[in-house]
Symmetry: C2
Subunit: 338 residues, 2 copies
């Protein structure tokens, strides 16, 4: 009998998630039935959506905390997922999972493409997974960048933002990232080739933008919302495009009882600058999923896209990794290694 | 020598425009030079943009107040605009204008198309002019409505909104208008064929929307911004489209010294509902101008689009008409007849 551990969502998030919102639980897994397989987690993901979904969809307490993982199939009664294969699955914060595909129709698990011998399987949670495709489709399909345009990215040192910036460079754009530390800003410029970076915690964002983007901003890839986005909008050019990927500045305020921070009206700016602002969830492009992954794989193999992971060791570190990621402690993709 | 009268923008708008912001001035016009012509206003337009442009572009006091007019050419040294023709021109709030085309390259005057014998020339300021094209292009090109979709329009009883609703009906949509009086709501339903109307001054907009649009809102044509738009956004469907045509709720707050009313963050809604919000200025489609006018002309001749004008008599009524229009006193297009 296999013993599994999982993290339960034991009390509702009010404001910033806390360790006390989670409870570690052990359970005995049942035997596999026909068509089922057993997945053992290798890497677990922490992502901003995991906070906001719990509140936005009002998930009940007592359930397994949601999330994706890279796992190895260690026993199988399903021909599609034979023992030994490495997969991605939305199984939640669990060490071991009895997977019945009937339970996973919305986000079906899939066998990871061959990343080659030098790239870690953990990239299936980051650059070569959901965050990578979020950058790929969410930037290219919504911002539709043209060469020589100026692109601004908030949350630029995260898993998605850092990839967006490098795709923008491949497309010939001028790229400015907004991030939360001098170390992150240095990484964006020195390692990833960004043209500029702004530490929003210490800089006058408006003045820095005007200096680093003297021709104005054409594309804004927005992970944060709130005041930072208000300032970027004021600096946009006629017919600018805004891809709304995330709204992390608001995620602490999404409990039904809380009132979001009021912001100045942006509508007059949207009107007169004739801006287009579009929100998206990456599964909109799920039919093209491998197209995105394969392009990113080619770019990373060619050295055109670099990645970085902040790795937390051990299943028991999962809530800490999650809280740290939401606070912006990570550079690149935050991963928990089991 | 021709005597002209004009309304001067004599002090800056702070909040709602007042009669004291304008001064009536008389002047002697000079003789026509080669290529010039003399236009005599027949109908003058008042439109919401006239308020916001003065602040947004920080126009100086002392200039002629901006605006369009339908005019008759009463003397001409220009073959393109012979004496006797009826034209549309952005000549400002003036009775008589010496027109030199070199001064009007951005919005060049044009001879009105033949409206037929039953339609008044004043339609060149409304249904068959800028507001008509604003409705035509701004709704069809940005909302891209599909049959059976639900369309909500704010400022629905104005020149633009009332036309948008009728175009939406032609396209097979379900149409709900938001307007500021029971009389306007009754007109929208009884005369224009809207499926529903909400008096925002007396109704619980959210409850009314949920009742009148039980399947949610697919397209929102927004003339107002502010709280009304916040409520409509909360009621939109996945992949909804928002055409930002105006932001009249904010126009009283656009003076450089004023702080706009704060509103709750909408970004999480835009994100999870994957909405597209696009601002526009109708001159984006100036190359297709007559295509829009001619289609609207065909629809009005076929009885598929009705119009209404609120007519103020006399040039001296121009500021009152403008202030009244901004307060929502008009139904349909507000016009001043000289």
């Amino acid at each position: 009998m296999v013993k599994a551990k999982y993290w339960e969502y034991s009390s509702k998030f009010v404001g910033e998630p806390k360790l006390s919102n989670f409870k570690l639980v052990e359970e005995d897994l049942r035997e596999l039935k026909d068509e089922e397989f057993l997945a053992e987690a290798i890497f677990l993901s922490v992502d901003p959506y995991q906070q906001v979904y719990m509140n936005f969809y009002n998930f009940p307490t007592g359930i397994v905390m949601i999330g994706g993982q890279v796992a190895k199939v260690i026993d199988s009664k399903n021909e599609q997922f034979p023992t030994g294969c490495t997969i991605y699955g939305m199984f939640g914060w669990r060490t071991h999972t009895v997977v019945n595909l009937i339970m996973h129709t919305e986000y079906p698990p899939y066998i990871l493409p061959d990343f080659g011998s030098t790239l870690p399987a953990s990239l299936g949670l980051g650059l070569l997974g959901m965050p990578g495709n979020t950058a790929y489709f969410g930037f290219l399909e919504i911002c539709r960048p043209k060469p020589d345009e100026t692109v601004v990215i908030s949350g630029a040192a995260g898993a998605v933002g850092s990839t967006v910036g490098q795709i923008a460079k491949i497309k010939g754009c001028r790229v400015i990232g907004i991030a939360g530390s001098d170390e992150k800003c240095k990484w964006l410029i020195d390692e990833l080739g960004f043209d500029g970076a702004i530490n929003y915690k210490t800089a006058d964002i408006d003045a820095e933008l005007k200096s680093k983007a003297p021709n104005g901003v054409d594309c804004y890839f927005d992970n944060v919302g709130g005041k930072i986005s208000s300032i970027v909008l004021q600096n946009m050019n006629l017919f600018g495009r805004i891809s709304v990927c995330g709204s992390i500045s608001n995620y602490n305020n999404l409990h039904p009882d809380s009132v979001p921070e009021p912001l100045p009206e942006q509508q007059t700016t949207i009107l007169f600058k004739q801006l287009t602002q579009q929100g998206f969830v990456v599964y909109r492009w799920k039919e093209q999923w491998l197209e995105g992954i394969n392009q990113l794989l080619e770019w990373v193999k060619d050295g055109k896209i670099k990645y970085r992971e902040t790795i937390y060791e051990g299943f028991e570190k999962q809530p800490e990794a999650f809280i740290g990621m939401l606070r912006g402690e990570n550079i690149g993709k935050a991963i928990v290694k089991i």
